[in-house]
């Protein structure tokens, strides 16, 4: 009897989970489907799901009208550049806070996190003015720097929790075993920290890739990434749903594929501190 209830519950929960999952995924699926329709089919009422004439026309038009590769390259440069720079700063920062904490370490961590509570738009004009003064508006350098800064608190927190998980006794054991500081970092710390750093890098790339406030407000042409590419299809020329969908699909595809292949690493990374 108890077993039957369990099976029933299992079915209900599985169905529920799939239902919610599909609901969340549906807009993306719809976008992808729409991108293969003609503009007429795209706004057809009632909507058509699969039985339409599949066309690649939208992709051709989008590619002809705007240089996808340039946006893509900008996105890649911003995401990788800001992540690389951020990791360069965050690893030593999190390291020292995890292994040589002081009385104020907790406060510093909280203060860093508190900067994320400030609405970004509150500093939009100061930052815009500074960039204009420096002649860095619409430059990749400036955006890499800003994206790095806005994600820095999160990656320091993530790395801090990872490093905290490395027991101090292991480092002491290495010292007893005759490891120099270099050996300790090379043979003990780095191998133990790499999974944590890897998930942090992945998450930061995704965050930087998807960032749409600063990338839209501080770029025009030269530094514009894929977010700007999508935005340029949104309204001014009327409602071209199919082309907008094609542009969106092209913009999200790289990150979706990356996420798909690294999902195991990501999930492990995000739940690392939680389970244990």
């Amino acid at each position: 009897m108890a077993r039957a209830v369990t099976t029933q519950r299992k079915i209900v929960f599985t169905a529920l989970a799939w239902g919610i999952g599909l609901m969340i995924f549906f807009p993306i699926l719809w976008t992808i489907l729409t991108s293969f329709k003609t503009e007429a089919t795209a706004i057809a009422d009632p909507p058509v799901f699969f039985n339409f004439d599949w066309t690649l026309e939208n992709y051709q038009v989008v590619q002809e009208r705007s240089d996808y590769m340039r946006y893509l390259w900008n996105s890649v440069a911003l995401a990788l550049g800001s992540t690389f720079l951020g990791i360069l700063i965050a690893v030593p920062a999190a390291w020292s806070m995890a292994f040589v904490p002081t009385r104020r370490t907790k406060n510093v961590l909280l203060w860093m996190l508190s900067t994320k509570m400030l609405p970004a738009v509150g500093v939009l004009y100061p930052i815009r003015l500074i960039l204009i003064q420096l002649g860095l508006l619409d430059s990749k350098i400036a955006l890499i720097f800003i994206l790095m800064l806005i994600n820095l608190p999160i990656i320091i927190w993530m790395l801090y929790t990872y490093f905290r998980e490395i027991p101090g006794e292991i480092l002491e054991a290495a010292r007893m075993d005759g490891a120099t500081l270099k050996d300790e970092i090379l043979y003990v710390l780095t191998p133990m920290a790499i999974p944590g750093i890897a998930s942090t890098v992945l998450l930061n790339i995704i965050l930087a890739w998807n960032e749409a406030f600063w990338t839209l407000t501080l770029t025009t042409v030269n530094a514009a990434p894929l977010t700007a590419f999508i935005a340029s299809y949104s309204s001014p020329e009327g409602l071209f749903y199919a082309k907008l969908s094609a542009a969106s699909t092209m913009a999200i595809a790289p990150i979706l594929i990356m996420g798909w292949f690294s999902q195991k690493q990501l999930v492990r990374g995000l739940t690392f501190g939680a389970v244990k």
């Binding site: 027991p167 006794e169 292991i170 002491e172 054991a173 010292r175 007893m176 075993d177 005759g178 043979y187």
Partner: protein, 334 residues
């Protein structure tokens, strides 16, 4: 060789003095146990010897040379940690080989020594597994293996058995004692468990609040505890400490009688009391006896066959030659 001498070693964390100046000699090949309640400074003392903490003042000499400011690796000591502290990303073989690799030993010699240690500790069948795939006892053996391959001048153990279950603890206790007999290397062992101390040690160092209360062989400590603290700490169950009129009869402030040093009778004796809880261990029975006028119930050890129960009246006669006498400061009277 592994002769370790501490000379006026003192340790303070900021304003807090955890170890007041302390002298100690550990002879080559001795099995020394640091024992004391938690927070008594025994682990800190071990870490000072290991070099994982810097001494605030004083001198540590290992085999006659000043090691006070040497790095942990240069002291030639090996340590086994409470959490085992194995490298989780390395196989058992690599864990054990790590200190040898750090010493720059050639691969053939490393392999020879690792295989030797694995055989001694019965690790050979899981030499290619990682620590995560091992049980607690197996991990402890790997940690010991990592210590012995270095052929150190002394081993330091920091509560190595406290993460193991009771049955395994007894087994590992024997294995470590066995290892000590075979290697005849100095071992310093920290524990809060006085049974481990009694069963393993050549020499026990009883610590309280950073002070050495007494140093001696297990039986010395058992027979002639220097003060009431050692009297109460060494021996299980604890020695009965009695104050007041009964103690004054013996010209002392406090007298101590171990649970095993009573004659029990149902007819008559020095003290008369009522049996409370009794604990039957099969071989022994422990009676907790309330005696009118005594602050605390007495613990009495009797044979396993004694047929007495809750509420029964019992007469107790302490063995006159086994009464320990202490003064008002708790120090032993001659």
């Amino acid at each position: 060789m592994g002769r370790i001498t501490l000379d006026k070693v003192r340790k303070a964390f900021g304003d807090v003095e955890v170890i007041p100046p302390l002298d100690l000699r550990i002879e080559d090949g001795e099995f020394v146990v640091f024992v004391g309640p938690s927070g008594c400074g025994k682990s800190t003392l071990l870490r000072l010897i290991a070099g994982l903490e810097d001494v605030t003042s004083g001198e540590i000499r290992i085999d006659g040379t000043d090691a006070t400011h040497l790095s942990p690796a240069k002291r030639g000591l090996a340590m086994v940690f409470q959490s085992y502290a194995l490298y989780p990303h390395m196989t058992v073989r690599k864990n054990i080989a790590f200190p040898l690799k750090m010493a720059g030993m050639d691969q053939a010699e490393i392999d020879r020594r690792v295989d030797g240690a694995a055989k001694v500790l019965n690790l050979s069948s899981y030499i290619d597994r990682r620590p995560g795939q091992l049980s607690g006892g197996q991990r402890q053996r790997v940690a010991i293996g990592r210590a012995i391959v270095r052929e150190p001048s002394a081993f330091l153990f920091d509560e190595p058995l406290s993460n193991l279950d009771a049955a395994l603890r007894v087994g590992m206790r024997l294995e470590i004692s066995e290892l000590h007999k075979r290697l005849a290397t100095t071992m310093i062992y920290v524990t809060h468990d006085q049974v481990e101390a009694m069963t393993m040690a050549d020499k026990i160092v009883v610590l309280r609040a950073g002070h050495i209360e007494q140093v001696g062989s297990p039986l010395e400590l058992y027979r002639t505890p220097r003060n009431t603290f050692v009297a109460g700490f060494i021996g299980s169950p604890k020695m009965n400490l009695i104050e007041g009129a009964e103690a004054e009869k013996h010209g002392a402030h406090t007298i101590g009688v171990r649970p095993e040093h009573f004659q029990i009778s149902t007819e008559g004796g020095t003290w008369t009391g009522t049996i409370g809880v009794s604990e039957h261990l099969g071989s022994d029975t422990f009676f907790h006896v309330t005696v009118p006028g005594f602050a605390e119930p007495l613990t009495i050890r009797a044979g396993g066959e004694v047929d007495l129960h809750y509420g029964d009246t019992i007469h107790l006669t302490p063995d006159a030659s086994q009464i320990h006498r202490f003064d008002a400061k708790g120090l032993r009277l001659p």
